[in-house]
């Protein structure tokens, strides 16, 4: 019988006993901490001194215009879509010492760093990624996550997800979320750290095959920023959501700014118009 063969294959797909026990030990530890009420995870804030040093670095870095030609492409992929970015890679030495130390400690894993605002995250990174006056008018949301291993869960208005490769910063994602009426906006800026072992810059990609691609539109803001707005739909446990996501490169960061609406509750047209207002506010 056909399903017997599938059964045999899935039966072999098992977590190793060692990892199974390690995860259970982590759960038990977490559970005990919560029960005894001893755990109160003070947010692991970035030290003020590191922020101050980074602010100084912004001033010193200036805004030199690079000759590098960044490129971003969006293509249909398995019913969804694929985004590939060839943004200029960031030199390791331009990254803050604190971030590099964290990457060295991480090895090949990732971790989340919480910040009170987008500006604080920029100050920590020592670079201006992009300000947006329209987003500043919205209500701040919370971002969060759990990094690899036993790193504490974090939740904050802005989170940096640092991914390391061989002890060096690799991909640095800055996440923030905002709300206005029934529209929820998520903003991600992705920086690619230069790999000293590679001659050229590294391109990275992202695929979304969980949502069905329904259209793409090139939208150019009044200041000349070229964006690609991807429209897709996804079924989340019986409720259909329409996603509008703008992809673009600005200041060497690859941006994804998106909103997702349940059209029974909010108008897709209004959400798209609001997204364009947000895009127009990038300079």
């Amino acid at each position: 019988m056909e399903s017997k063969k599938l059964e045999r294959v899935f039966d072999r797909v098992r977590l190793s006993r060692e990892r199974e026990d390690a995860i259970l030990a982590d759960l038990t530890k977490k559970h005990n901490e919560e029960v005894s009420n001893m755990k109160q995870t003070a947010r692991r804030r970035v030290p003020a001194a590191a922020l101050a040093a980074a602010v100084l670095a912004i001033v010193l870095a200036g805004t030199a215009v690079a000759a590098y030609l960044s490129r971003l492409t969006v293509t249909p992929y398995e019913g969804g879509y694929k985004v590939r970015t060839e943004a200029k890679n960031i030199p390791q030495e331009s990254l803050p010492a604190d971030l590099r130390e964290r990457a060295a400690a991480l090895g090949g894993k990732s971790t989340h760093l919480p910040f009170g605002s987008w500006d604080e995250a920029e100050a920590y990174l020592g670079r201006e990624i992009a300000d947006n006056a329209r987003l500043d008018q919205m209500t701040k949301g919370e971002c969060g996550g759990i990094a690899s291993g036993d790193t504490e869960a974090v939740s904050a208005p802005c989170v940096i997800l640092l991914s390391a490769h061989k002890g060096l910063p690799d991909i640095i994602e800055v996440h923030a979320s905002f709300r206005e009426n029934l529209c929820h906006f998520s903003v991600e800026a992705v920086l690619i750290a230069k790999n000293p072992l590679l001659d050229g810059d590294k391109a990275i990609g992202f695929t979304n095959t969980l949502a069905d691609l329904t259209g793409t539109e090139t939208y150019v803001t009044p200041s000349g920023l070229e964006t690609t707005i991807v429209t897709s739909q996804e079924d989340v446990f019986g409720t259909v959501y329409t996603n509008y996501e703008a992809q673009f490169i600005l200041n060497d960061a690859t941006f994804r700014v998106g909103t997702s609406v349940n059209e029974r509750q909010a108008s897709g047209e209004e959400a798209l118009a609001l997204l364009k207002e947000v895009l127009d506010a990038y300079e």
């Binding site: 056909e2 399903s3 063969k5 599938l6 059964e7 045999r8 294959v9 899935f10 072999r12 797909v13 098992r14 977590l15 190793s16 990892r19 199974e20 995860i23 259970l24 982590d26 759960l27 038990t28 977490k30 559970h31 005990n32 919560e34 029960v35 398995e78 019913g79 894993k109 990732s110 996550g145 759990i146 690899s148 291993g149 869960a153 997800l161 991914s163 490769h165 690799d170 991909i171 994602e173 991600e188 992705v190 990275i204 990609g205 992202f206 695929t207 979304n208 095959t209 969980l210 079924d235 989340v236 446990f237 019986g238 409720t239 690859t254």
Partner: protein, 159 residues
């Protein structure tokens, strides 16, 4: 939290369903380290979840849906693409020739189709139950199954 579970209850739920959660996560994430992280996150969410389960089947359904959601979140991260490229999947030891190939083919299916195959053929859910679990229309679910079976047909018919 409305009603906290005891350490024994957590441990029992974990031992009963960790295999299922891992299979869902590995199928969707295609990377052993990512799947292990996702399993950890799913069960941490269980710690935070205050609702009571009516049965072991209810527990399993909740964990499958939570695992799918967690993987969906992880798949949105850019850096995953790189990690997936270096997926450490070769650690699996297959029982019969061709099983590795079938697994690779299952992994290559679109998310919806591989979940459909897994829930229906492996977990034994009826098409109606599995469709409900995934929030899909039963007819749509059946069309995912038909498409998946068509793609797996050659390998399934060998032997």
């Amino acid at each position: 939290m409305a009603d906290r579970r005891t350490a024994e209850e957590i441990s029992g739920i974990y031992r009963r369903h960790v295999g299922t959660v891992y299979q869902v996560c590995l199928m969707l994430l295609k990377s052993v380290p990512d799947a292990e992280d996702a399993v950890q996150t799913v069960f941490r969410k269980l710690l935070e979840y205050g609702g009571r389960f009516e049965s072991s089947e209810h527990e399993k359904a909740w964990l499958i849906v939570t695992a799918r959601n967690e993987c969906k979140n992880q798949l949105r991260h850019w850096w995953r693409t790189r990690r997936a490229d270096s997926a450490e999947l070769e650690g699996l030891a297959w029982e019969a020739p061709g099983d590795g190939e079938l697994w690779e083919l299952v992994l290559s299916l679109p998310e919806r189709e591989k979940l459909a195959v897994y829930l229906h053929y492996y977990q034994g859910y009826s098409t109606g139950e599995a469709a409900e679990l995934l929030g899909a229309n039963p007819a749509t679910f059946r069309s995912w199954l038909v498409r998946a079976r068509r793609k797996l047909k050659d390998l399934l018919e060998e032997e």
